[in-house]
Amino acid sequence: MKSFMLMLSAAIFASCVGAAYADPASDYGRVVINNFSERAGMPAVVFDHWLHRGLYTCRLCHVDVGFAMEQGATNINKAGNFNGYYCGACHNGRTRFGDKAIFPACSDVSALGEKKRCYRCHSRGVDDVQMEYDFAAFTKALPKKGSGNGIDWEQAEATGLVKPIDYIEGVSIKRPAIKPQEDFAIHSKSTWMTDVIFSHKKHAVWNGCEVCHPEIFPMGDKGSVQFNMLQIYDGEYCGVCHDKVAFPLRDCERCHSKPVQ
């Protein structure tokens, strides 16, 4: 028990030190994808997860389009994009967002103008990339909370400031709206930390069932799976998203929110 507490304290301390030297909010949730890019003579892709997260549900990309939940695990390639899969499921020049078509991803054309389009995604280390969406401008009106990129996405959706799309014609499956799930408490093993109130309802609406079960949260030996903060800090369970693209683990009270009895 002592060693567990020591390790946990060390993890929390490291997290606090990390926070002091953290990257700017705009970098939180940025994913660099470089399975093939540099080998093919292109800069690596810098994917703004915060932007796509504000426009689409998790399920749309990670279930319907099929992006893995781990950086680089999908092995996205040009041919796949070109044939309407992965990024090309939306970035095809035909799918519309609002009143405009979403620019196509990947092409065989290498004219100067086309290179500029390539650099909209393949942007690592490229100077003068003109991004359509700027983090500060995109998030200016959104409610703020905690650390990481500082956006309170739940509140942003509740107030109608973001309306994540959950369906793309030709990619998504037509299915009824998910039945509301009940939130539940996860018992904290520590005496100094309150229980977690897990927002199953919100997680289910954004993720569907498939994102979390059974890959991230499998069935445990006695029913519910048992896990601890060290595993989460190590990128398992909640740590698959939290501390990477969803709000960071140092915002303890956002999960451990059950009032002390």
Binding site: N83, Y85, R175, P214, G223
Partner: protein, 110 residues
């Protein structure tokens, strides 16, 4: 006869040469549409199975076993596809199947 045919052959070759840039992208788009088109029988089966994942916990044990069996049969068909389509749909099917297996395990452990 040969002299009469020569201009005709020239015109035909010229027509093909000039129209190719117009038709090739159209053909390419059509090929792309065929690859992404969700209308084949395996696709209908995929859509039907995977549209039920959110009801998995409400299904009975027999229902879950039946849908898992359908998943396994469908997997064989998807494995016969090629390239990215195969990879994407195998991954998507695996996720759907996982939910049903999760629900079945949950019921069997209760």
């Amino acid at each position: 006869m040969r002299t009469k045919l020569k201009p005709l052959i020239f015109v035909a070759v010229a027509l093909i040469a000039f129209s190719a840039p117009t038709f090739l992208p159209v053909a390419a788009c059509a090929a792309q549409a065929v690859e992404a088109a969700p209308q084949s029988d395996w696709q209908a089966e995929f859509d039907d199975i995977c549209s039920k994942t959110q009801d998995a916990m409400a299904m009975g044990v027999d229902e879950l076993k039946a849908v898992l069996d359908r998943c396994d049969k469908l997997k064989v068909k998807i494995e016969a596809l090629e390239g990215t389509q195969r990879k994407v749909y195998l991954r998507r099917l695996e996720m759907c199947r996982g939910v049903f297996a999760f629900a079945l395990e949950s019921k069997e452990k209760k």
